[in-house]
């Protein structure tokens, strides 16, 4: 459960950096002994590779550089500046704790936290804007709209509470659409927590819909079950004929697994409903026709709800969608600010070195 370790640099990258560090140190030693060849000998031979944080970025620069060599510090500093974006500490080895905290940036965390949390805490309603409808949403809507009363829909529920914050937004309008069409959902999940997540969402949709006048939905027990064995056992569900298959997946791999292991067997059209990050990876499958529709992210949820409620009014999760839109606006502004600042810092530090 070490979150930071998953963001650590790859071993190879670290090895490269270690080698670069060693090469830098040895080159520095050579250079110090022969000052005349300093610049010409180093430039072009060693690619400047970042081995630590740049000044002003983290806590590294706050600690004083340990005096570890007997060389003239100023001379050494100039050499190091030529070798990398930041002064290398010759003879000093980087501690593992420094590597682990490479993405530990409190001011960045604070900025994002404030940018997203404050509008929600104070329930700001603006700026709202409008969700972008990406290609694939209208196709998914059409595929579900073609369902007939009593049709069987195979559902792979490939998300759990970890990603429900995003996926529930997407699943709610699609499940409602399928239930409205009178489809029978056969839900399976490869995640132990999947069926419980599915049952909560489906029963929530049923409850909300049943409060609306003139709506009668099937109230039979929800058919959702966990299948142990992982993706390897998915082909077992290819023997079952169905009118449509819908994959609610937090990752592209879940949709890929269905397209590779089940769809070729029962030839059932597939609609993918995924987290936004999985969207680009699944575009080739949409282009090849293996996916009949693709809905992803908060914008996919909002555009699908817009299509579903084009004639009937506001979607039941309107408040959540509005909060997502406002929160996303602030989050994206914060991310843009971070990207611009990062580039400015890089440009300024590089410029200062050239001077």
């Amino acid at each position: 459960m070490d979150f930071e370790s998953s963001f650590e640099p790859e071993d190879e990258e670290l090895e490269d950096e270690e080698q670069t560090l060693d090469a830098g140190i040895s080159a520095a030693n050579e250079v110090v002994s022969a000052p005349g060849r300093l610049v010409s000998g180093v430039q072009g031979l060693l690619e400047p590779i970042r081995v630590a944080t740049a000044p002003g970025e983290g806590d590294q620069e706050q600690s004083p550089p340990p005096p570890t060599t007997g060389y003239d510090p100023d001379q050494l500093r100039r050499v190091r500046t030529l070798l990398a974006e930041e002064p290398l500490i010759a003879g000093a080895t980087r501690s593992p704790s420094h590597q682990q905290t490479s993405l530990w940036m409190p001011w960045v965390f604070l900025l994002i936290g404030v940018a997203v949390a404050v509008p929600i805490l104070f329930q700001w309603a603006r700026p709202l804007g409008q969700a972008r409808q990406w290609p694939g949403v209208a196709e998914a809507f059409s595929a579900i709209n073609r369902l007939q009363n009593g049709d069987t829909v195979q559902v792979l529920w490939a998300y759990d509470p970890a990603t429900a914050g995003e996926l529930d937004l997407l699943a709610a309008p699609l499940v409602q659409h399928m239930l409205d069409k009178g489809a029978r959902l056969e839900i399976i999940s490869l995640l132990p927590n999947g069926p419980a997540t599915a049952r909560r969402l489906v029963s929530g949709v049923r409850r909300i819909r049943s409060q609306e006048p003139g709506i009668t939905l099937d109230q039979s027990p929800i058919d959702a079950r966990f299948v142990p064995g992982g993706a390897m056992v998915l082909p077992a569900f290819g023997a079952t004929p169905a009118a449509l298959a819908v994959v609610f997946g937090a990752q592209a791999e879940d949709v890929q697994a269905w397209l590779e292991l089940v769809a070729p067997r029962n030839r059932t059209p597939v609609v993918a409903v995924t987290a936004a990050g999985a969207d680009p990876v699944l575009r080739p499958y949409l282009d090849s026709g293996q996916l009949k529709g693709l809905v992803s992210g908060f914008d996919g949820a909002a555009s699908y709800s817009r299509l579903l409620y084009a004639t009937t009014g506001q979607p039941p999760n309107q408040l959540q969608l509005a909060q997502q839109l406002v929160g996303q606006n602030f989050a994206l502004i914060a991310f843009l600010a971070l990207i611009v600042t990062g580039n400015l810092v890089a440009a300024l530090t590089t410029g200062r070195r050239h001077e």
């Binding site: 459960m1 069926p195 966990f226 987290a275 680009p280 080739p284 994206l332």
Partner: protein, 259 residues
């Protein structure tokens, strides 16, 4: 009835507080690695594993062949095979679990115990290889190669889709070459012009993949932001349920003059 309802309310209230505390403990990892965050993580892992064990146990006993065996153990002898395989897996796996970190792994009896696991593990590996290979072949390689070829050669298309098709094919091929060809290993013995040509493809493919990585990164930003927004919403909603949230809201409205 009233007492039952009261218990349900109490369970919800207690649950709401437990949810808030556990959520905040885990989220406190944002301030670094500390004891409270680790406590939250250990509670979560314990609950997740326990829940997974219960769900898995239920799912295994719901399998039709297990139900068949429970109803009539002498009915179909073939159906005992997976039970035997499971037993072998448990013996071999149990030996590894219980004896890990201890010496004497090469001793005769322990080697025999491990050897027992070969049949079930071999079946899992073999089936995994077969299913994954067949899947990737029929679900990704063949349809995607076919579609790539189709988009690249739309001879009767209008100029715009025709050019897009050609570009699409070029990018696909260059990205594939970038992934498949290691210049140092594969091009060192090639004639210079071939090496230069392939290097050009790799250069192009690398840039296309970087561009696509940027697009994925941008979509991941909204994905992760959605999760954080939902988490904050959830915490706020939970506080409101406890009544404390409403009190704070009232105070806030009094302070700001909104009340």
């Amino acid at each position: 009835m009233n007492s039952l309802l009261g218990q349900a309310d109490l369970a919800v209230l207690l649950g709401t507080w437990v949810g808030i505390v556990v959520g905040l403990l885990i989220f406190s990892a944002i301030f670094g690695d500390h004891w409270l965050a680790r406590l939250g993580q250990h509670i979560l892992v314990g609950v997740a594993l326990g829940y997974a064990a219960v769900v898995t146990w239920q799912a295994m006993f719901a399998l039709s062949f297990v139900q068949g065996l429970l109803a009539n153990p002498a009915g179909d002898i073939i159906q005992w095979i997976p039970i035997v395989l499971a037993l072998l897996l448990v013996i071999a796996g149990g030996e590894r679990i219980l004896m890990q970190g201890e010496g004497g792994a090469g001793s005769g009896s322990r080697r025999w115990l491990r050897w027992l696991g070969v049949a079930p593990a071999g079946l899992l590996i073999a089936a995994g290889i077969a299913i994954a290979s067949l899947g990737v072949l029929q679900g990704t390689l063949l349809p995607q190669f076919w579609r790539a070829a189709q988009t690249g050669f739309q001879w009767r298309a209008a100029p715009e889709p025709f050019l897009t098709g050609i570009l699409t094919l070029l990018i696909t091929v260059s990205a594939l070459i970038y992934f498949g060809v290691d210049p140092d290993r594969h091009l060192s013995r090639q004639p210079r012009w071939i090496a230069s040509f392939i290097r050009g493809w790799i250069w192009f493919g690398q840039r296309a993949v970087w561009l696509a990585a940027g697009a994925i990164f941008a979509r991941l930003i909204v994905s992760r932001s959605s999760l954080f927004i939902a988490f904050v919403e959830g915490i706020v909603a939970s506080f409101m349920t406890t009544g404390i949230g409403n009190t704070i809201l009232t105070w806030w409205q009094m302070i700001t003059g909104a009340l």
